[in-house]
Amino acid sequence: MLIPHPLLGLRDAQEFTYLGDASLLNRPDGMAPDAAQAFYQYQYLRDNPAGVHRELWFHEQGDRSWLIVTRDTTTHEILAAELAKEAAR
């Protein structure tokens, strides 16, 4: 696979480490009253779609950027890639 890095262009996916669903960006507030439920859902439940999936890849053997890659899990076609740091803001 090749990942279209927003700064570096097409890169061998082997340079990256995969984490999973981009929803992991939305970490709940640990001090909130409903934290227990929120963290359970945040940490364990996944949409796991057969189709378009926003997911986190770390450019470990590259520029050390975390990317959000939008990829079709049925065809592996990659539709978009962005810097997670920008998206998280």
Binding site: M1, A13, Y18, G20, Q43, Y44, A50, E55, H76
Partner: protein
Amino acid sequence: MSTVRFSALKVVAEALTGHKGWGPLWRNPDPQPDYDYIIIGGGGHGLATAYYLSNTFRQARIAVLERGWLGQGNIGRNTTIIRSNYLLPGNEPFYEFSMKLWENMEQAFNFNAMVSQRGIINLIHTDGQRDAYRRRGNAMLLAGADAELLSREQVRELCPFLNFDNARFPIKGALTQRRAGTARHDGVAWGYARGADQKGVDLIQNCEVTGLRIENGRVLGVDTSRGYIGAKKVGVAVAGNSSRVMAMAGMRLPIESHVLQAFVSEGLKPVIPGVITFGAGHFYVSQSDKGGLVFGGDIDGYNSYAQRGNLPVFEDVAEGGMALMPMIGRARLLRSWGGIMDMSMDGTPIIDRTPVAGLYLNAGWCYGGFKATPASGYAFAHLLATDTPHETARFLRLDRFERGLVIDEKGVGATPNLH
């Protein structure tokens, strides 16, 4: 339905009379308007569930709905390893129960699935690993399974062809389970299918479930490509696609779908005694009764429903193989395949009720589903028939994540692609 009894005598008789007497292994029934039990998924676990539900728990009016052909799931696409060498109490008794079922299955369903107990060897490369394997081996014995710790020299006697000294990770010994081994994966599916069909279970192929009818929190039946079918109870056994089916019930699961590739070499005269696993090198191998080396390694690591993977895994697995047993270098990799794995958040499966009354879930098998097939079917049938979990499956609950009762054999946490 076929009532032919298989035996050597029957084979001889048929041979002499031109094989005219062999009937269909199972019928091709049309769906009835409704059933007491519908099992979604005609893979290994679904067929085993139907088999035990009808043969052991004496239930009737059962249908198995399969989107494609029977055994199309991961039962038709795996490395055929059977073993019960787990560490944790949530797992080991369940897999040992499965192993005991393997040991008597063929006589039970009168079909030779070529269960072959030639043993599994888990290689040890460091002292820390030996400590961990010792703890695991003892856990196996405490659960009534068999286990032995082998010295480097004992491993050498069993597998003289391994790379003991020049490898990046020298071999210091092994944990072995002699009752482990392999089985002919398709044969398992066919044996259960035939056994279920003989008890009147409707095995309905080319019947894709497109929706779950749920009213007031209770399941009423399923919409399929062959029309609506009513059911008192619906069991979902579609590992790989669990999230897709349960989404029809509005549920999100602690599961990601990943692709696992595996490989087989051209047929070779037998050289590998049993199953050998090389954890440090992401490589495991056995040899089929046809002579093919059956081997694999890690999952590709990204979510996928594509049932195919990529080149780096070919290379990674082959590197491990070459480092461990350089004598396989000139064997040719003949075919690869990729299956969709239900990777659960703690690497352990789920057999449980769901918040929807009458809807039951059998999922999250990661890449260990094949060896679990008999126990999974038995335990799921038990749950469907009695509404209580089978004792060996009582920890495989859906709420264990919320309650902090995860069963994490590898100790890597909620990272599905590391389990």
